[in-house]
């Protein structure tokens, strides 16, 4: 029985439990709710929770364990040498899953001969095991729910502290929701770590981190050095920051120090509007408008510096535009955190507004602004759509902003959306790239958040 039909049954049982628990508590108290320790609804809720939670926990555990167990059993059917060979097993498993999903599709793609036959065999085993596991799971889960319901009903007593119990359970649910943040981080690390380790088994880590050539080829003999990608990432980010930081910072200065309240009330939402535009829009802008426009000026018909419309400068400029509102709204917050007393002190001595800003406010706000720029840099490094659509595909170590370049994020997309098989080094490299990107941005974020927090504490 699939989860989609199991869940409504569980919900119905829980509702039943609620009504039964409430009624039983009331009848035990002789129909007078004042004779109960807690409100009747608390007794009902306790029964419902006892019905629902253990069953759901079991269901979740079962869904996690089944794939592992089934995979293990199916893998046991394969010879030891296949299992030892890196990548071969996961390749076979993905074939099996596909065959199990659509048994007729196997003929063409899985190949001919003994391998195809053994795959078909394994796929049948896989389907049977999964079906059996699913049936068993439904039965156990339903029995658990019924047991929970019965137990909770039996324990109802007028002096039972149902409210404390319900609230304790609720609080642990709240804790569970909060811990999801940690689990997500762990999930990110785990999902990339296994792929990364697999990749480094196929491709030496030294060549990956220090290789200066990025040339994946699906026939084998790929060169997968990260340096050209890292260079492209940093170079494009630098162009973007060179656009966004001065404009964003000066816009924030104008908004927080010069603009009249009316102008501020109009301009701030407009800038925020810019921040809410999805990156796909900027990507399309780079691809269709900015790239060709730059190519007209700097390309073969113009100055001749540019080969195509896709270049580091195309992506960098558009990304800079995207980051302006990000930098300006962060800087605006930070400038506003500088106490007015400092401005008054300086103005009271006869300093002009710009002197006050340059000599007093900006130095005082510097740590916060550095933090904001670091956050913007992390944004730029992790940006995907603009570089996928505007920067080009060629990985090269070049100083010329008019050259096409590519970035870590763009290559993650191309390696994982291409036709490469998920077990090959060419696809697995995306996990190593993702890991590098994650570590890079995490470092920047931690540093930036730390700097900004320290800065805020200073004026609180």
């Amino acid at each position: 029985m699939p989860a989609s039909s199991l869940l409504p049954i569980l919900a119905a049982l829980a509702a039943l439990g609620f009504v039964a628990g409430r009624r039983r508590a009331l009848s035990l108290a002789g129909g007078d709710a004042r004779g109960l320790h807690s409100l009747p609804a608390h007794y009902g809720a306790e029964v419902a929770l006892f019905t629902l939670l253990p069953a759901l926990a079991l269901l979740a555990l079962w869904s996690l364990a089944t794939p592992l167990a089934v995979n293990h059993l199916v893998a046991g059917e394969f010879p030891a040498e296949t299992r030892a060979e890196p990548g071969a097993m996961s390749l076979a498993m993905s074939d099996i899953r596909r065959l199990a999903a659509e048994p007729d599709a196997g003929q063409g793609s899985a190949g001919q001969g003994t391998r195809a036959a053994s795959l078909q065999e394994a796929a049948r085993l896989y389907s049977t095991l999964r079906a059996r596991a699913s049936g068993l799971a439904s039965l156990t889960v339903l029995l658990t729910a019924l047991a929970g319901l019965g137990y909770a009903l039996w324990r109802i007593h007028p002096r039972r502290r149902a409210r404390s119990h319900v609230e304790a359970i609720l609080e642990s649910l709240l804790i569970g929701a909060a811990t999801l943040a940690i689990l997500t981080t762990l999930g990110i690390v785990a999902s990339m770590l296994s792929g990364t380790i697999e990749f480094f088994r196929l491709y030496p880590a030294g060549d990956f981190f220090f290789g200066t050539i990025w040339a994946p080829s699906f026939g084998g003999g790929s060169r997968l050095g990260i340096l050209p990608l890292l260079w492209g990432t940093l170079y494009i980010s630098l162009i973007a920051l060179a656009v966004a930081v001065p404009i964003g910072l000066f816009a924030a200065i104008y908004l927080s120090e010069y603009a009249s309240p009316a102008a501020r009330a109009l301009l701030k939402p407009l800038l925020e509007l810019l921040a809410g535009i999805p990156t796909i829009v900027y990507g399309l802008l780079a691809l269709v408008t900015v790239g060709p426009a730059l190519a007209r000026v700097f390309g073969d018909e113009g100055l001749g510096w540019m080969q195509g419309a896709s270049a580091a400068i195309t992506a960098g400029l558009v990304m800079g535009g995207m980051l302006i509102p990000f930098v300006s709204s962060l800087s605006d917050d930070i400038l506003n955190a500088v106490p007015q007393a400092l401005r008054d002190g300086s103005l009271g001595l006869g300093a002009t507004r710009s002197e006050t800003l340059r000599l007093v406010v900006l130095p005082a706000a510097l740590p916060g602004i550095v933090g904001a720029i670091l956050l913007a840099a992390s944004r730029a490094i992790g940006e995907t759509m603009i570089v996928v659509m505007g920067a080009g595909a060629a990985a090269r170590l070049s100083l010329n902003p008019f050259d096409a370049m590519t970035t870590i994020t763009a290559k993650i997309v191309s390696q994982l959306t291409g036709d490469a098989d998920f077990a090959s080094a060419e696809a697995l490299v995306a996990f190593a790239l993702g890991m590098t990107l994650f570590v890079l941005t995490l470092g920047l974020n931690v540093l930036a958040l730390h700097v900004v927090r320290k800065y805020r504490e200073q004026y609180e």
Binding site: E171, P278, G283, S354
Partner: protein, 441 residues
């Protein structure tokens, strides 16, 4: 020291220089604002200018003869027999109809063969005709006046995108076709109309940009947003309530705080990798399914929702909590009866903004396979809306942009108008909600 009795009315040279510096500084601030505004206006201008044409489409109205001997050689109107007649048999009927229309308009066919005229119509036109005939077999033997989609080139000519110069190097659609188009325009058979199919339709194959619509992808986005709303709102509120109202000051709480702050700044593509590895490769959920997209976007949006929900909870003054605790409510009752209802407008505002962010997100969707195929049919059932492969609005826009043809770019910009329209509506709802329920303590 400054001269004590200098008049205030005659500023010194130094003051004048300082005031000039002040003016320069102020002007650079204004210039930055203007640059940002120019970027915004330019962007909006390009979006509207390049996207608006997608909402109009060229159609050709033709009267087609439906001879029985071609379409139903057995003459029994048996649906099975009719279905065996392919679009190849229908295409020449359209050629003939075009030829007739041209004669009525008083123009000559500039081509040796009538077949060449077909480039004026969408490649899907024969299928359009066949579907109509299969639905109403009684039409066979008579004639039918019907509006057909014009081809993307003919459509582009009406929109000014295609000119005689731009066609100089094309083989299938030549300037001579434009003469035919002019003649049909003159007789009113070729016309530009509001393109409802763009809003409601599905994606079309690469050679038929004129037939593509964003409706199916919008349904995919809707399904994802429902998943995000159903998961991110309760989980986000639960996590925020715990952190704001119950959490003790300890290592675990600190760890959660640090994680939330960092997750909010993790690149979205990383969430795509997580989704690919966890939901598709490990849990075996179907690829390209809106359910998976919704799960990934939920994880991505949670930090945003938690941060804004916590701010909303913090804005509820402690006196409210003290009042409830003072009459003997438990902490849980205090939170659920008093604090949460008061914080609700703020929570909903944050949730809407989080949803808007999720709606526009593209990068993670690429990795879980919401691109690279043509979602030609809308989902048939609610379950299919979540589980069957579909695209989403931003992914569909990306897919169109990759097809590298001005007609597809027009579709992409048109899709962006719709996407931004949704985002603006959501942000406006958030602002109104905040205004309506804004409370000052």
């Amino acid at each position: 020291m400054s001269a004590p009795n200098k008049s205030l009315f005659t500023p010194g040279p130094r003051t004048r220089a300082r005031n000039r510096a002040e003016a320069r500084f102020r002007a650079s601030g204004l210039a930055a604002i203007l640059a940002a505004l120019a970027f915004l206006t330019g962007l909006m201008g390009i979006i509207l200018h390049d996207g608006a044409p997608a909402f109009r489409q060229a159609f050709v109205t033709l009267t087609v003869e439906l001879p029985e001997e071609r379409l139903d050689p057995n003459g029994n109107r048996d649906p099975a027999d009719l279905a065996r007649v392919t679009t190849f048999k229908y295409a020449p009927l359209l050629d003939a109809a075009l030829l007739r229309a041209l004669e009525e308009a008083g123009a000559e066919n500039p081509f040796a063969k009538a077949k060449k005229l077909r480039a004026l119509l969408s490649k899907g036109a024969p299928a359009q005709l066949r579907a109509r005939v299969l639905a109403e077999p009684e039409l066979i033997g008579g004639s039918l006046t019907m509006r057909f989609l014009a081809s993307a080139r003919a459509d582009g000519y009406l929109k000014g995108r295609v000119t005689r110069e731009s066609l100089a190097r094309e083989r299938k659609f030549t300037p001579a076709h434009l003469d035919v188009a002019d003649a049909l325009l003159g007789s009113g058979l070729l016309e530009s109309r509001f393109n409802l199919a763009f809003l409601t339709g599905s994606d079309a194959s690469e050679s038929r940009p004129e037939a593509a619509g964003i409706g199916t992808a919008a349904l995919g986005s809707l399904a994802m947003m429902l998943v995000v709303l159903a998961l991110a709102l309760p989980i986000g509120v639960a996590a925020s309530v715990y952190l704001e109202e119950f959490a003790p000051q300890n290592r675990l709480t600190d760890l959660i705080e640090v994680n939330i702050a960092n997750l909010a700044a993790v690149p979205s593509i990383v969430f795509g990798i997580l989704g690919l590895a966890l939901f598709i490769q490990f849990a075996g959920l179907p690829q390209s399914a809106p359910l998976v997209g919704g799960l990934v976007l939920t994880l991505m949006t949670l930090p945003t929702i938690i941060i804004s929900t916590r701010a909303a909870l913090r804005a509820v003054p402690p006196s409210i909590r003290e009042a409830a605790l003072g009459v003997g409510a438990s902490r849980m009752q205090t939170v659920f009866h008093h604090v949460l209802p008061l914080a609700m407008p703020g929570i909903l505002t944050g949730t809407i903004i989080g949803l808007a962010q999720a709606l526009g997100e593209t990068a993670p969707l690429l990795l879980i396979g919401m691109i690279g195929f043509v979602a030609t049919n809308p989902p048939a059932s609610p379950a299919e809306a979540f589980l069957a492969p579909n695209s989403a609005m931003p992914a569909q826009i990306y897919e169109w942009a990759r097809r590298a043809d001005p007609a597809w770019y027009e579709r992409a910009w048109g899709g962006i108008i719709l996407l931004i329209g949704f985002l603006l509506a959501m942000n406006l709802a958030a602002i109104l909600l905040r205004r309506r329920f804004e409370r000052r303590w």
